[in-house]
């Protein structure tokens, strides 16, 4: 596992001068992921905040090979790049016979959980040697905070607004990490940039595997979460300590490991309270919703512990 000093020597694959918002989680995640990659990288990126902010012609923040194709096809696109690599390497073209690459796709929750899900599922099932990173900020932030299937229950978004009758999003979020584990691919993990050591280790592990891997990374969006720019990682830690966002990994579909167990699992309010998107939940009439969310979190955490063999 690389130290920060080592990681810093692999810096520079994502330059400054991109136009992500101040305090954006995606920028932090990309930098950590790329620092963990030891080979030259080809990145494919789904349409979304990251892509539109990092490659505004004639500028690119990517000091790597990079391709953006469309919103829903980052996984298919990188699978095509990887197929090209296999073919050209076998055919000894462009001197690729001795050249290794890391193929990494980035997508937001919109491009991953929703519109890009079919492409992702297909690429994973086909077994390409690719790493797909979802930076999950829980809504379509690029287009102005519309709900996605990753939006947590109760969140106020522009298409699940907290109104007089409906208190924000009424559904629980899709647990995409579990869904990806159900593909029985070699490696699936959930991580967060606040825990850089865990995230970079997971990236190193994923890239060392001869097959597909998927890492779901919680990504703060100060604008969409309605949180102060500097507080992003602090709030991310509460997501982990409340078990809203457990850190875990799944190998070959069945082998679950919990990477971090909070000594004192904190109540879900601590995750919800600092975020403006959940403000309405703290009205007295919505108390039952917080209870419902807490129950859901507890059940899921217990299920994960059971899968990981931590409890019977």
């Amino acid at each position: 596992m690389a130290t920060l000093k080592e990681l810093s020597t692999r810096a520079g694959k994502f330059s400054g001068g991109h136009r992500l918002c101040p305090g954006c989680g995606a920028g932090i995640i990309v930098r950590q992921v790329l620092a963990a990659a030891k080979n030259p990288v080809v990145v494919a990126c789904a349409t979304g905040c990251l892509e539109v902010s990092s490659t505004i012609y004639p500028y690119t923040a990517w000091n790597t090979s990079f391709i953006h194709n469309a919103f829903e096809n980052a996984a298919a696109t990188i699978s095509g790049v990887e197929a090209a690599y296999r073919s050209l390497k076998r055919r000894k073209k462009f001197g690729l016979e001795d050249q290794e690459f890391d193929f990494i796709a980035f997508g937001g929750d919109g491009g991953t959980y929703d519109i890009g899900f079919q492409s992702l599922s297909g690429a994973m099932e086909r077994g390409h040697k690719i790493l797909y990173i979802c930076y999950d900020n829980g809504a379509y932030m690029n287009t102005g905070i519309q709900r996605s299937s990753a939006t947590p229950m109760g969140a106020n978004t522009t298409t699940s607004p907290a109104g007089k009758k409906i208190p924000g999003k009424t559904q629980f979020k899709k647990e995409l990490t579990d869904v990806m584990a159900a593909h029985y691919i070699p490696y699936v993990a959930q991580a967060a940039p606040s825990n850089w050591k865990d995230l970079t280790r997971k990236v190193e592990k994923a890239l060392s595997i001869d097959g597909p891997s998927f890492i779901n990374v919680l990504s703060v969006c100060p604008r969409g979460w309605r949180t102060p720019e500097e507080k992003g990682l602090e709030i991310t830690r509460t997501a982990i300590d409340t078990c809203f966002w457990p850190l875990f990994e799944v190998e070959n579909g069945t082998d679950y490991t919990i990477n971090y167990k909070p000594k004192n699992k904190r109540p879900i309010e601590e995750w919800l309270k600092p975020q403006g998107r959940f403000k309405h939940l703290f009205k007295p009439e919505n108390k039952h919703l917080i209870e419902k969310i807490q129950k859901h979190i507890d059940n899921r955490w217990e299920m994960l512990l059971r899968r990981a063999g931590e409890i019977d």
Partner: protein, 105 residues
């Protein structure tokens, strides 16, 4: 409407919207976005590099594993570095940006 004089015409740019200089966003300065400015307090710095690993803007300069200050051309002033600095006496302070020191890099 007149075409902006400085930008190249269609014959003079690579085809297909390809950008042929990787990482050239480095030439694009976003320091002007800043309303708060991180200031490195060198004597308090323990060179843990947390500021570097958590910076969204690649604006913390590290050489040989040591913090070397900020790249104010690319720092947007989010304040994560100061927030995450674990030094007993913070090695990064956020100060209000002002016109005079905004571009002094």
């Amino acid at each position: 409407m007149a075409t902006p004089a400085k930008k190249p015409g269609w014959r003079d740019i690579p085809i297909g919207g390809r950008i042929e200089e990787a990482g050239n966003a480095h030439k694009y300065h976003v320091g002007g976005w800043r309303i708060r400015r991180p200031v490195w307090v060198k004597e308090n710095c323990i060179h843990c590099l947390f500021c570097w690993v958590f910076c969204p803007d690649s604006a913390v300069e590290v050489h040989d594993g040591k913090m070397h200050g900020f790249d104010y051309n690319h720092c947007k002033g989010c304040g994560i570095c100061a927030q995450e600095c674990p030094a007993k006496d913070k090695a990064i302070e956020m100060r209000p940006e002002d016109v005079e020191n905004k571009f002094d890099n």
